[in-house]
């Protein structure tokens, strides 16, 4: 039976597979995502290279990193904001990148949905956790003894 035997307008399925799309084709979202990958990439270069330089190259490099080191950095709003922006941009950029890869390789739509759900949940949890850690950080936790920054009151 051809489509001609059914008068227009017809439903969007079976007889006219050309229009068998769910809702919209998301092209403006994909455009925004494409642009975001490039803009966030440029900003991330500065943030991540800066992060690696300060934590691996300066002073005693990786050997200087301990609780006191983190406390020293997060005592300044400068590094708090730095890490916050780096966290959000890197997670969004990475999540969107992995989403593209899932779309490319997972052919069954069920598999795609499952993988993307896992991806979004993982990214969401990490972004919330990372944000909370930056803002609820306590440099002088009660009862702690080792590696405290020098500005903590002596117990």
């Amino acid at each position: 039976m051809s489509t001609e035997s059914i008068a227009a307008p017809r439903s969007n399925s079976a007889q006219s597979p050309k229009y068998k799309r769910s809702k919209g084709n998301n092209s403006s979202f994909e455009m925004a995502a494409w642009l975001f990958m490039r803009l966030s990439g440029v900003v991330l270069i500065v943030l991540i290279f800066g992060h690696l330089f300060v934590n691996l190259m300066l002073g005693d490099g990786i050997h200087a990193v301990d609780f006191g080191f983190v406390a020293g950095k997060w005592a300044s709003p400068f590094w708090q904001i730095w890490d916050l922006v780096m966290l959000w941009l890197a997670i969004l950029h990475g999540t969107n990148g992995v989403r593209t890869i899932i779309n490319d390789y997972a052919e069954r739509s069920g598999t795609r949905m499952t993988l993307k759900t896992v991806l979004y949940v993982a990214s969401g949890v990490i972004v919330v956790l990372g944000t909370l850690v930056i803002f609820t950080f306590d440099p002088c936790p009660p009862g702690a003894v080792i590696d405290l920054p020098s500005f903590c009151p002596v117990p």
């Binding site: 490039r38 990439g41 440029v42 991330l44 270069i45 991540i48 290279f49 690696l52 691996l56 190259m57 005693d60 490099g61 990786i62 050997h63 990193v65 301990d66 609780f67 006191g68 983190v70 406390a71 966290l87 890197a90 997670i91 990475g94 999540t95 990148g97 992995v98 890869i101 993982a122 990490i126 956790l129 990372g130 909370l132 850690v133 609820t136 950080f137 306590d138 936790p141 702690a144 003894v145 080792i146 590696d147 405290l148």
Partner: protein, 115 residues
């Protein structure tokens, strides 16, 4: 083509590292002991090499990312994409050599020399 494969793989590797990295950093909210114990693992020579590999991946992804941006936005980008790839590899080497000297010195001298 290979640069695209490399860009994909490094992107995924960095993303997975980042998920774990936020988890290990979150130990600062548990206790200084917990954080310092886990970060201590980052200081042995094997992890030191792992960090070098991670940085190598990021530096490639970052410079190749700039190349992709140049190809997309610069009028002559597509024409010179091959030369740009050589540029990426050259910049990668120029960044990695001093980085490796400094990082591996820190990792190995502290391990064998102690404090």
């Amino acid at each position: 083509m290979w640069s695209w494969v490399g860009h994909r793989i490094t992107g995924v590797v960095i993303f997975i590292f980042l998920l774990v990295h936020v988890l290990d950093t979150s130990l600062v909210r548990v206790s200084p002991e917990a954080y310092t114990a886990v970060i201590g693992a980052y200081k042995n020579p094997i992890m030191g090499l792992g960090e070098a590999g991670l940085v190598a991946a990021i530096v490639f992804h970052a410079f190749n990312g700039l190349r992709i941006i140049a190809i997309d936005f610069w009028k002559k980008g597509p024409k010179y994409q091959r030369q740009l790839l050589w540029g990426v590899l050259a910049l990668w080497a120029v960044t990695m050599i001093p980085f490796l000297i400094r990082h591996l010195t820190i990792v190995f001298s502290n391990f064998f020399g102690g404090h």
